[in-house]
Symmetry: C2
Subunit: 268 residues, 2 copies
């Protein structure tokens, strides 16, 4: 059965996030599955590189799905583009290696949190920016950010209380980018926990506003207590920027039980 790799982007404003769930019909995954099932005349299950929360956008998300079809990818792509609403875009569709799985093979993710750091409004990109008009100490934010990089237990920086598995993740890089009136926080790592980028952003913003010391990051990490970190920044400023796949490698942390077997995860 052919295996496909789909790249897509979306404006998450009106969606209840990526993941299809019982009572929330308005999800990206659900929309893609309904649309592809219609085009391919069979039930399609789509795997994304990871979930995005309600209101979070994606500049480049990767998904995979299998379908019994002779339609060439170009035809499926053209049909998808015709049927998807204007806030979800199909960027590309190719036939993938038989074992490719968008979540299990994903080795890195980059998220960008966009802050509008000006008193003057930005009307055109208002749905994709968090306005923070107060002056920000970007150097202090970068110092704090550097202390969060590396491999740590990020229990203090995620919001899933029922999460039983390891909260150890590796953040490769956090860049605080001064783009004039806009300040972007660019996070790259092997994976991020529920609300993790938004809590990291909220905490770094408190550093930038002088409400928290840059060098307090190691203490927050070692406390392993969500209450010690900053507020969760709103979803609207967050964009899944890019998703990386190292050929042949599968995700090494933390779901070691998710080993790839013919593209299907083994149960833990």
């Amino acid at each position: 059965m052919p295996n496909f790799r789909l790249e897509l982007c979306y404006d998450g404003t009106r969606f209840d996030g990526w993941q299809r769930q019982g009572n929330t019909p308005n999800t990206i995954q659900g929309l893609l599955e309904r649309t592809l099932s219609e085009i391919l005349e069979q039930e399609i299950e789509v795997a994304g590189s990871g979930r995005t929360d309600a209101g979070v956008h994606a500049r480049r998300q990767v998904a995979s799905f299998r379908a019994k079809t002779k339609l060439p990818p170009e035809t499926i792509l053209a049909n998808l583009r015709k049927k998807l609403p204007s806030d979800v875009g199909a960027l590309s569709l190719i036939e993938a290696q038989p074992r490719f799985h968008a979540r299990l093979n994903c080795t890195s993710k980059t998220y960008v949190y966009r802050i509008w750091n000006s008193e003057a409004p930005n009307v055109f990109e208002r749905k994709y920016l968090l306005p923070v008009p107060e002056p920000l100490d970007l150097e202090a934010m970068q110092r704090a950010a550097d202390l969060l990089c590396g491999t740590h237990d990020f229990t203090s920086f995620h919001a899933n209380k029922r999460f039983k598995r390891s909260a150890v993740r590796t953040i490769t890089k956090i860049e605080i980018e001064n783009r004039g009136e806009e300040v972007d926080l660019r996070f790259t790592g092997d994976g991020f926990l529920y609300h993790m980028v938004r809590i990291l952003t909220g905490t770094l913003l408190e550093v930038g506003l002088g409400q928290r010391a840059a060098n307090s990051m190691p203490e927050i990490l070692s406390a392993m207590d969500r209450a010690r970190a900053g507020k969760t920044a709103p979803a609207r400023g967050l964009i899944l920027w890019d998703v990386g796949y190292d050929h042949g490698k599968s995700k090494s942390t933390p779901d070691k039980c998710d080993l790839l077997t013919d593209g299907n995860p083994k149960p833990c």
Copy 2:
């Protein structure tokens, strides 16, 4: 009575254009007048550099108004920013020369028409772009554009049938900008007639698509017949980019009767 100069931007998507009119409550001018009247506790009349059509955006529009007030401009600006909806932004507000009038003193305008020239969708800027996925011959478009520059009677390129005054305007420059998947048409001139930029864009697009010869522009101009030019491009891709004021000069064409007299236009 102090005279003020306001710079603003707006996402025109949900508005019925700039100009306040009897039966259309949803105009930018009307919104500004209601908001300023509330802040300044008196009836305020706002003059814009010019009208924009329903659905047209402004990156920088200039308006002027007079008010009997002792409030400093910063206070009025802060109040405006609090009260205006998120799709209308007050960029700056200063006290202007007593004789300054946003429309009568305006000496140049720049409009940008943004085209998304790709089969892949652009979800984030979809409200500000016209999608034209077909290949465009940008060199032919630039040759045609150059033939439209200069001082001409633009009767063939405007949509106001009841327009009795001169249709002579000067286009200083039309630049066809290749920005990868985006193509921008940048028009600068002393003023533009009703639908003029959108008809110029529609005509240039037909040249780019090979449906019309680049060197046919002089014929269209000399025909003085709207039917000879191309289609009117949709409002959504059009942005009033900037407005120019030459200190001391007032608009010289075509409303010669609009001479400045204490900031008020003389009736024609």
